[in-house]
Symmetry: C2
Amino acid sequence: MKQDYFSKRVSVRNYSDKIIPESQLTSIIERAMRAPTCGNMQLYSVILTKDLQKKQRLAELHFNQPAATGCDTILTICADFNRFSKWCKASDAEPCYSNFHSFIMAMTDAVIFTQQIVTIAEQEGIGTCYLGTVNYNASEISDLLDLPRLVVPVASLSLGFPASLEAQPERLPVNAIIHKEKYVDYDEKRVTELFKVKDENPENIHFIKENGKKTLAQVFTDIRYPKNTNESVSESFHRLLDNKGFI
Amino acid sequence: MKQDYFSKRVSVRNYSDKIIPESQLTSIIERAMRAPTCGNMQLYSVILTKDLQKKQRLAELHFNQPAATGCDTILTICADFNRFSKWCKASDAEPCYSNFHSFIMAMTDAVIFTQQIVTIAEQEGIGTCYLGTVNYNASEISDLLDLPRLVVPVASLSLGFPASLEAQPERLPVNAIIHKEKYVDYDEKRVTELFKVKDENPENIHFIKENGKKTLAQVFTDIRYPKNTNESVSESFHRLLDNKGFI
């Protein structure tokens, strides 16, 4: 594989005290706005959380993971059809974006925009980490940030200059991901072969023992992403989409 | 604004006949797999469509937009909890990802991965364009590509070497997107001010006349993204999520 920034990057969860200048952050966001966007509608907003107290409160809603508590800034990126709809109303047009498809469009826009922020920030030496917990307390995050109707948080990023770098985690082989012309489903033998890189990783083996499990997959299904959590988050997130007028 | 690749990029809809070498495409995808992914689960797959007949059929499902008909390769990027679930089953673990939250996680993963492909490809001189129509015929695309349960297309990209470059479209000013600490809602005066860059763009004014409308917003609400289409796509996409076991 070609060695470049893309092949070498890692997420950063441990930040120094060095402050990200506001002008740099604005410049990153402004360039990220050049990322592709559906119909040039720019269906996203970003809330900057820098204030220490607000950051602590927001970090709590992300279960106080170190990436959230120790970063310079948390960005909450939202699927936003509010601004566009307000413009429609001000322009003698009837907005019609109170539906699920519009949410999916805006979420896609917002995630593309988020990943562009990640790439630009990282190429300028800033560390980033997605806070994958954004959906878990999305309603509480929405209240904390005063999000109106048709605005839903879909990605959270912590940003800061790196204090230390983690080793790159393993990835599946590329042929696990690529399908030529048609999806070729995985049988037991093939999936076992493809996931060997995970199952045989010494760190993962340690992780299995630490959690008292027999296999790495059990750590995922029983501890990290278990059924009851997935189902309750499904319910609360669906309710939020409903409350925000997207369903 | 700093001038760099990110500030200058544009999507490409007009491609030359030059073929993208398969090794280059694989290398791009392999590096894109280093993008952040939820819990290192890599909840995505990518289907490559290069075969002329299949590309024509797939382009039809994207309403024969020129970016689809004239490109070298179409990538269909899917939210995929099938592979991970198969691994769970092969590892004495009970997968529990047949729910809406799991779809949202996998969709986020897939869109991050897609945008990483865009950035890497573009930095190597390949033009890309999102086919924003992926949700419109998602069920037909799913059938064409043999997608199994827990696999749903969420992004489509056309790729090819550029034959010509379009001018950069306008974007909102950066302060339209950024909210500091809390979301500050837009009143009519402010939204009108922020959208001036769109309303006063000569190309957009031409577009309004061409469509027999009074305002640019009406072109969006009445023609490009109208209520009946948004509602029928909402219904069909929701049905697909249901059929694929995500709801």
